[in-house]
């Protein structure tokens, strides 16, 4: 037999492992680390949601659900989206419950892309979009966004990257890792181009509730955009339900039907326990969610002020739970910075280049951490910068 490695598809081999994975291994081997490297809430799922899951298990809800997800959940999602975003979706035909937004992304890429179709991916961004496009035989085209534009996607920068093969635009706002958001005006400035070039938008709105300035606006709510937008959201961030893996995607019935077909043959359905918990979250989770968001907002201000006080330039994040300061003044690249900071001060942050090449020169600091740990981390980072001749 040839070497086992040769059996692996060249396409999969062509995808580099996530930069985060490599850094994770380093952090996991270090003692006494304060980690600002996580990408999830520091809360456990509110008790009433967990309790509802136990109750559903007690009553014997351990079976498959329909491929699309429990009808009550899809109805609650439709109510939520109409109330919060002003977009109406039919629970029967336009909503699919998935295993997190991650699955929805994968389905969308597989359903939409033909070989060499291009997916426009504003960077820095979450790590899955480009590999997701490549795994569906497409091509990811990075569209750089900049701190000087508050990490918004501008029509000018988008247009430069559009080609006749462009088919999909990913919008991920509020943004991981920058904390950038897109206002209604920012989104309106893009719709002309999107329509002109007949693009489909994958709008990953998983951080929508974590918007601290202004209101979250979905591009699906703008005129002419609903049918060409796949709106994705879930429960992980707003309701501290990362491990439950429940997300959803809403869009044109034909695309949703195609996605449901792939979902049916690969996943069958999202786990029923998570779906039951998600219903509870939508029905009764608002108070706890608001409490958590208020707390994130307090810590957002604390870390922003702290990072600036130790001499790091930092764009003010307006959403999600990350700060994305520039570390170019250190003279180190982002991986060197993170490794040295970890080794010397036992603070873990994520190198910006893990989120796309124009994330280089930055680090991602997650402020879903206790106030004590945030203050300690800032102090340690300050010591680190001083020792390396900064500030």
């Amino acid at each position: 037999m040839n070497s086992i490695g040769n059996k692996i598809s060249p396409l999969v081999k062509s995808i580099p492992p996530s930069g985060i994975r490599k850094f994770f291994d380093l952090v996991a081997q270090t003692e006494g680390v304060i980690s600002l490297g996580v990408g999830e809430p520091d809360y456990v799922t509110p008790w009433h949601i967990r309790e509802e899951c136990f109750y559903s298990l007690e009553r014997g809800y351990t079976m498959y659900t329909s491929n699309s997800g429990l009808p009550e959940l899809r109805e609650e999602i439709a109510i939520y989206l109409k109330r919060n975003l002003g977009v109406e979706y039919s629970p029967a035909k336009e909503i699919l419950v998935t295993v997190g937004v991650s699955e929805a992304l994968d389905l969308a890429m597989r359903v939409l892309l033909e070989p060499d179709d291009e997916v426009l991916v504003p960077e820095p961004c979450f790590v899955s979009y480009a590999p997701g496009a490549v795994l569906a035989y497409g091509k990811a085209v990075p569209v750089p966004t900049y701190a000087s534009d508050e990490y918004r996607l501008t029509a000018e920068n988008l247009e430069k990257c559009i080609t006749p093969r462009s088919k999909v635009l990913v919008l991920a706002y509020p943004n991981n890792p920058t904390g950038g958001i897109m206002s209604r005006e920012d989104l309106e400035a893009l719709t002309g181009l999107i329509i002109k070039h007949d693009l489909i938008v994958i709008s990953d709105e998983i951080y929508s509730e974590l918007t601290y300035q202004g209101e979250h606006v979905s591009i699906a709510s703008l005129p002419g955009m609903k049918d060409r937008t796949l709106l994705m959201n879930g429960f992980s961030k707003a309701y501290a339900m990362t491990g439950w893996r429940i997300g959803y995607v809403c869009g044109h019935p034909e695309i949703i039907a195609a996605m449901t077909k792939v979902h049916q043959y690969t996943i069958m359905c999202a786990p029923i326990m998570g779906q039951k918990a998600a219903i509870e979250a939508l029905r009764h989770g608002e108070t706890e969610m608001r409490r958590m968001i208020d707390d994130y907002n307090n810590r957002r201000k604390l870390i922003l002020s702290g990072l600036r006080s130790i001499g790091l330039q930092c764009f003010e994040p307006r959403g999600a739970f990350y700060c994305f300061p520039s570390i170019t003044s250190s003279g180190l690249n982002s991986e060197e910075f993170c490794e040295k900071l970890l080794n010397e001060e036992q603070v873990a942050v994520v190198p910006g280049n893990a989120f796309g090449s124009n994330g280089e020169g930055h680090i991602r600091c997650c402020y879903a951490a206790s106030v004590i740990n945030l203050e300690k981390a800032i102090e340690r980072m300050g010591n680190f910068l001083q020792r390396h001749g900064l500030k």
Binding site: S18, I20, F23, F24, V27, A28, V33, S35, G37, V38, G39, E40, D42, V44, F126, V127, S128, N176, N298, R299, K301, L302, S305, G306, A348, V350, A354, V371, E375
Partner: protein, 162 residues
């Protein structure tokens, strides 16, 4: 929510938050936070600062009882006069007027059960307005003032994730 309430909400959850931290979180000057807290203290809105302790861990947990007290209300002052009298005993930790089958709920601590029974029989029951008492001893504490006695749960998240 006004600034006073925002500050109170923060320090109600964590009295050790520094005024500079509060100032940063609420985007006001530290001097404003200092002054507001001083005013709230002077106005008796902030009555004091205490620590929530698991005394059992240091072998000094003593005995706590919750006593249901039926009292006769008095003309003009209702339950106030007797409640205020009960409040003055140092072993009384809290006094609340309740709806339901009794009137005052009184929490009392002592070193031994004997201390508490002596308090009930000699101090509380002998007040002329007190008609009857029912004493419930606390056997085990699970949660107090938002704190679960098992202690904080460890952070179970992966140390780095996307």
């Amino acid at each position: 929510m006004n600034l006073e309430n925002k500050i109170l909400k923060l320090i109600a959850a964590d009295a050790k938050l520094g005024n500079n931290t509060i100032a940063t979180m609420l985007e006001v000057d530290e001097a404003v936070v200092d002054a507001t807290i001083k005013k709230l203290e002077a106005d008796n809105v902030i009555l004091g600062y205490k620590t929530v302790i698991d005394w059992e861990k240091v072998g000094a947990d003593g005995v706590t009882a919750m006593i249901d007290v039926k009292v006769s209300p008095e003309r003009e002052v209702g339950f106030n006069r007797v409640a205020e009298r009960i409040c003055r005993f140092p072993e009384v930790r809290s006094v609340n007027l309740m709806s339901g089958t009794y009137d005052l709920s009184v929490v009392v601590t002592g070193e031994t059960m004997k201390d508490i029974s002596w308090f009930v029989s000699h101090r509380l029951s002998t007040l002329e307005q007190v008609q009857s008492t029912t004493t419930h001893f606390i056997l085990k504490r699970y949660k107090q003032d938002d704190f679960v006695f098992e202690g904080p749960q460890e952070d179970k998240r992966l140390v780095v994730s996307p």
